[in-house]
Symmetry: C2
């Protein structure tokens, strides 16, 4: 699907780098990552997410707003509750890639600590 394009040649346009950076910053918040992780099970309400994450309702609502404006989640009003769901699931691929890099670094640090201290 969206696997095809992904141009971004070496001379990356400045505007594009701004957009990409902005996107990364949106996902670069711990609470937002945990929010998305919970939404992985399906759509959920602000109240449920608030209880699940142990954060205040206002803060959860605020971060969901950021994710909504970034086009990562969608909102649906169900009577009195607002239901949020993920519409751009590529964020999970991003997290998995990052985790791969982190695990690589941990392994490397382990090797160093265990005796190859340079």
């Amino acid at each position: 699907m969206s696997q095809a394009v992904t141009s971004v040649p070496h001379p990356i346009p400045v505007d594009l780098s701004d957009l990409i950076a902005q996107r990364f910053r949106v996902i670069g918040e711990p609470l937002r990552i945990r929010l998305l992780d919970h939404l992985r099970d399906g759509e959920s309400s602000v109240h449920a997410l608030t209880n699940a994450l142990g954060a205040t309702q206002q803060n959860v609502s605020k971060h969901l707003q950021v994710l909504f404006q970034a086009g990562i989640v969608a909102r649906r009003k169900d009577g009195t509750t607002a239901m949020y769901r993920i519409v751009d699931s590529s964020v999970f691929d991003l997290c998995e890639l990052v985790c791969g890099g982190l695990q690589r670094q941990v392994a490397e640090m382990n090797a160093v600590v265990r005796g190859e201290t340079r």
Copy 2:
């Protein structure tokens, strides 16, 4: 060994979300993205990167420091010049994934603008 790629089950640990978020913030700066994009062609010196990006030497050095401490680039001293190279090429996969999401959004916005406003 550390081959277990991308665990991160639904109840994501808070510590891990912090690590992932920190990682995203490292890449979430336009200048750093452009820096990495230039290093895609191979290792380069601070001076060369400074000229290529039109930024100040101090700023380039500073951002390279951040990328270095994050384990994304490596440093090599060649006489009087410092040569930087990429050691974690997964950042490019990250950028491509983000670009895919962006293009999807642009396409959607185009569709809306062109008449399906409904």
